[in-house]
Chain length 314, copies 2
């Protein structure tokens, strides 16, 4: 497989259209007034399973052949990809095996189990995660679907920006958070093909700035000891996401934790919508770099809304 | 003035249309599955100033004559009516004087001041509130606009249910929270005129069940020592709202505090939207009376989304 082309992304959009929500694009007069800019929020917090991840998972699962499908799918994830793959598999009526660290919140495990998937617990280390997944793949003969380092996943995530460009044709900037890079690489490809005057910018917590440093150094710098409230952005870039980001993303802006919390609160208060900390990172970047965005049309992907209400930062 | 007729409510809807948001009606497959019912949420948390109150305030202010407008408007409120009247006055380019108890949260005072209104502080008693308002009215010659006991306010609040009936024609029930009764009386009138097969039910915290008792005893029982997290529902019914409720509302359901918090959390978690505790009261009533609503089409007015994020009950 190759880097998704324009047609690949359009095909993905058609393939998943009946399974996903076409999420709304919201604006906030008061946030625009405060920041002196025109922000268009693409609300993937309203997506099924509460995050954009359902786009990629659906695009991947729907393309599997009968023989690939027969033993089910598997992944390792403690986050939104776990729920996304669980639901995508349920829709296709196949088994899903989700490897999760044993210290993952019970609410997340319950959500995955609620979609009918099997949760396999492992020790909370990358090594245990990978070896446990390897064992599951061998035992169950299941088909592995990576959370982001997979062109079908990237093409699925790209459909989000595609919808946004459909609705808002004159964006100067598109801001996306970056963790493993599935959403950012997909968004950058969509901008390149469908909205070439839009500049895609990655946004990242300074406490987990591996993508920023990777872009600077020209090679993947692993995320070793990330420290941020944005728990969806802890992972390292992948061999498939990084080259796309290198080619199509000119800049990654890093933001402070206090800005993330402030941005999250601003969105909750002014827009009356629930977003998770990772989704607040792009607005935090606008807040920290107002000179860059004054008077501009800025697209922001609100990546998800899955937050533990018992552990809010305010 | 008389009890609003069908035409009065239709006229109010036309009058305020360009000033308000036509708020979305949302559904949640997961909440419907949990409660075995079909709920249509009318999202007034997305209304301007974050609550339905802006409908009534706009309808009232927009009808004032030049002579009534010239010295501005006044009210006493520590809640959403304060912000609603402040913004309605700002739009009309007139002064607004809002009497607020001195212990009202700073964030609420700031919001009112942010809309350009004058805040006049008073001691936190009903007596001080009324005497201070009286003094403001005399000093400033301003026009008094009551938070709910006013037919223009009632007709304005009725436009919310009118929009909901427009969009969902087959509702078996319409559930509204009840405090002073502006929203409930308006909703019941709208159902009577425009959706006569829909039964309007009031919902109220059991810790502030004065409307429930008023309906039972056939006279207004004042709300003396209300105790509930639903801080928008502390007031007593009025001489104009009560007779309408007596005539058109067959039932008021009371709910426990724990149900209110559970309902609020369910909406935040599943729908990814921010609502205030008062807005969760109708869903709490469905949760506590599932037998009544199984398989039915239920309209719920999510009355507002103004909540102090630093004082959440979870």
């Amino acid at each position: 497989m190759e880097i998704p082309e324009a047609k690949t992304i359009k095909d993905a959009a058609k393939r998943i259209a009946s399974y996903i929500h076409r999420t709304p694009v919201l604006t906030s007069a008061s946030i625009n007034a405060i920041l002196q800019t025109n922000i268009y929020f693409k609300c993937e917090n309203f997506q099924k399973v509460g995050a954009f991840k359902y786009r990629g998972a659906t695009n991947a699962v729907q393309q599997l052949s009968e023989s690939q499908l027969q033993f089910g799918v598997a992944t390792h994830s403690s986050g939104n990809h776990a729920q996304a793959l669980a639901l995508a598999a349920k829709i296709k009526n196949i088994n899903a095996y989700i490897v999760m660290p044993e210290n993952a919140p019970k609410s997340k495990k319950d959500a995955v189990i609620g979609y009918g998937a099997n949760v396999i617990e492992c020790a909370p280390t990358l090594e245990a995660r990978e070896s446990t997944t390897e064992k599951v793949l061998q035992d169950k003969n299941a088909y592995f679907i990576h959370p982001y380092n997979d062109y079908n996943i990237i093409a699925g995530q790209a459909t989000c920006a595609l919808e946004l460009f459909d609705e808002v044709p004159n964006l100067d900037f598109l801001l996306s958070p970056v963790g493993g890079g599935g959403l950012l690489s997909g968004s950058a490809l969509a901008a390149y093909y469908f909205s070439p005057n839009t500049k895609t910018i990655g946004t990242e917590p300074s406490g987990a700035d591996d993508a920023f440093r990777s872009l600077q150094e020209g090679k993947i710098i692993p995320s070793t000891t990330p420290k941020t409230i944005a728990d969806g952005l802890l992972t390292s870039l992948g061999s498939k996401t990084f080259p796309i980001i290198q080619q199509h993303v000119k800049e990654i802006l890093t933001v402070e934790e206090s800005s993330i919390i402030e941005a999250m609160k601003l969105i909750w208060q002014r827009m009356k919508i629930v977003i998770e900390p990772s989704a607040a990172v792009p607005l935090a970047a606008v807040m920290q770099n107002q000179n860059l965005f004054t008077g501009k049309n800025v697209g922001i992907i609100l990546s998800g809304g899955n937050v533990d209400l018992n552990k809010l930062p305010f």
